[in-house]
Amino acid sequence: MSAPTAADLAIAVLLPDVLGTYSDAGNAVVLAERARRRGVSTQLLTVTLADAPPHGADVYVLGGGEDAALPAAARWLLRHRMRDALAEARAVLAVCAGFQLLGSTITDLAGRVVQGLEVLDADTAPGRERAVGEVVASATVATIGELTGFENHRGHTTLGPAVQPLAVPTRGTGNGTQQHGRPSEGALSGAIVATYLHGPVLARNPSLADHLLALATGLDQPPLDLPDQEPLRRAYLETSPHARGRRWRPIGRNRSRRRG
């Protein structure tokens, strides 16, 4: 595959008007800027509830929203047949409510069920209490490494048996469920990266941003120099129990059940 030409990478932020509560649109800014610094120009598209979506964007970014906004977002995604667009995208990042909406069903506190896009084999139901706070999680892909972020959600998400979690949380709740005997955070499925982490997650975790950019461009992503990045990462990793030596260890008997 040849290198993308100018403005070859179209990044669409879906529904920041209702899925913008937790500043996740910043993820698109991070992707665009990291691409730009490496000589790949980008186009940022903002798609609101009042718009029709651009099918065929290269990258789609969805964020978290208030619980009340979820049905309206789901209706919009289904009405505009976004399932196909997302399934064909080069890279998708879905955070929190965005993650839930890519799954099959989302059940609210009153027991009402909202249909998701079924791009991911995942179902969400309310947990006993809201998970709010810092998360540290070890990605299931070695090149992504340690992830940090801030979670703020009530939903617990159960992944289907074939879905790989994005990470294993060592601090915080993440999906709030176990996958193959280990706590899980987010999901990885082909070009889709889903997570409960805000921050925005790509600002906090440049390796995850570059994972998405590698998917989107097919190019290696050489490191970038952002002077505040390292001290920031250090600060978030140091405040975690992980750094104080309570490292999570895989439990032996569950290893054999992991997917290859």
């Binding site: 209702v18 509560t21 309206a72 801030f150 921050g199 600002a203």
Partner: protein, 417 residues
Amino acid sequence: MVAEQRFWVARHAGKLTSTLSRRLGRGEGAVIGGRVALALDPGALRRLARERRIALVSGTNGKTTTSHLLAAVLRTLGPVAHNATGANMPDGALAALADAPDAQLAVLEVDELHVATVAGAVDPRVVVLGNLSRDQLDRGNEVRAVAAALAQALRHHPDTWVVANADDPMVVWAARAAARTVWVSAGSGWSGDTAGCPRCGEPLRLTLGRAWGCRCGLVRPRPQWSVRREDCALTDDEGLSVPLSLHLPGAFNLGNAALALVAGAVLGADPLVAAAGLANVSNVGDRYRKVRRGRHELRLLMAKNPAGWAETLPLLEPDASLLLVINAREADGRDTSWLWDVPFEQLTSRPGVATDVVAAGERAHDLGLRLDYGHVRHTTVTDPVDALACLPPGKVEVVANYTAFRTLARRLATEHT
């Protein structure tokens, strides 16, 4: 009898603690004093409020400023009890009333999550609601939930007048539950939380001027009072025009002044008379205060959330350098994600050299990284006082969020200039 004694003890214990706390230099005595009194007697707030005409001021941004402006308005009628330090929880309200036993009028700034409690105890004549936007989401307070709780609280007070900003859809949604409302077109600079309808989540349509509406039927109510920005005036729907000459900067402070004058009018203060006194309000707590320190002349500005920053960035003088200070303690919200909703990119159009913006505070690097991605050249120095050394002589605009502001203002005061 027993209750009265308890009340007396509670009130005096509270005052004593408050005085002690102030003498010991532990900062604001009001909260600690009020807390002691409330712990000793939960009915104290109700009894202290009896026989007084009380206005509550709430909302996300500008409530401290609006409460100061309203206190100035009401002083044209007589002495006013006021929680001027911004201690806006029930204990702060109690301390303010205890400190001014003879004031018939009171202005109580109240945190938007505590309106139900305080209103339940003091049965206010007026509740002022300026705006509702996202703030401290990590407490799980989605703005719609806050608006719903306010609506619930207002339903219990059918005799209370609610002075509400008609330009803020979330405020309208909260205030529509009230039996008596005065709608004020006070302006609204932030649409990030209300692009979706507060009631149904569908997109809001912006129509003519400041009007807005939704298919579900929620529309902007017709305002009885409006801020006219062109000539800085407050007008009513019968042709009255009140000049707003303020010392405080910014269009949003015109809105705050308008809400204060209308709330004052509900309590009997003639807006034409009261407006003259508003120009004397030059700083609010330490907000907008100017401080000379060494080779720098600082102006202290507080901005706590995206809406507050969006209002503050346009105020910054183009030839001043900038010291931006961010903490993320509990009172600020632990999550710093909101920095990404602040339009810092605006700063790239400022003239000046690379060193004239400093990112500081306990979360200086969160801010610094945000500025990196926004192409704002800056240096990052965690300690805000040390950071001043990086800045060229002359004017410095200091913008800080809540605890960063309070800590820095205190340090600048004690350090002496």
